[in-house]
Amino acid sequence: MRIYASALLSGMVFGLGLAISGMTDPANIQGFLDITRDWRPHLALVMGSALVVSGLFFQIVVPRLKGPLFAASFMMPLASAVDQKLIGGAALFGLGWGISGLCPGPAIAGLAYLEPKILGFIVAMALGFKVADWLSAQMVPKQSVQQV
């Protein structure tokens, strides 16, 4: 039970952070990416302050711990290759991010606003997940796609 309660609570704090920071407003995201016109630099502060907290934790605290509270071990991503799949995927993500002003976290958190477009975004994103899986299966048979 504790494992699910802690996941729920982590999600709530994450969602609260996204809403308070302005990340759930597509205008803020596109304003942040619009460096040549009317730049809104605030999201650099959001990412900066999030990184200070996560960086200190991952660099200083995690190495001193035996494992997480409610699971067997820390599950860190093992992939280290910087390949075409990583770069191409990140580029496609950047394209979609710029076009819509939304990334996965703010989209899910944005469901709270009961906005039909948010649901549409998530359905389109889910379709994209499946198309990527299908394409991966075509390119490299029997190799699974790993995510961070």
Partner: protein, 133 residues
Amino acid sequence: MIQGSLIGGGLIGLASVALMLSQGRIAGISSITYRAIFPSALEPWALCFVVGLVLGPLLLLITTDFVAPVFDGSWTTILIGGFFVGVGTRFGSGCTSGHGVCGIGRGSARSLIATLTFMIVGVITVFLLGLVV
């Protein structure tokens, strides 16, 4: 706005810490969403996290004078954008949270390169869109 950015960012970092500390998992929302919406990949903790992700802003809406943002982008840009975000985060193994906050925080070169890539392409995309619209 600056205070909101700093506090909100701090909460995002804190939530990532809480998830790693409790479950031993990276707070990468694209991957967690995948594990919450597809029955074949379903992991209960991921579903709990996603439910919490919606409850957070909902709580803010109900208990404070927080106003929900306006989504004035067209359906076309929302759907096309969503599709590319889906394909791209699956191929690229993560998004702003998994690569940008957790990956760079862990000191992963892969995540740093992914983050720089989607930032640069995002900037170029918005610049080009501004020329058209």
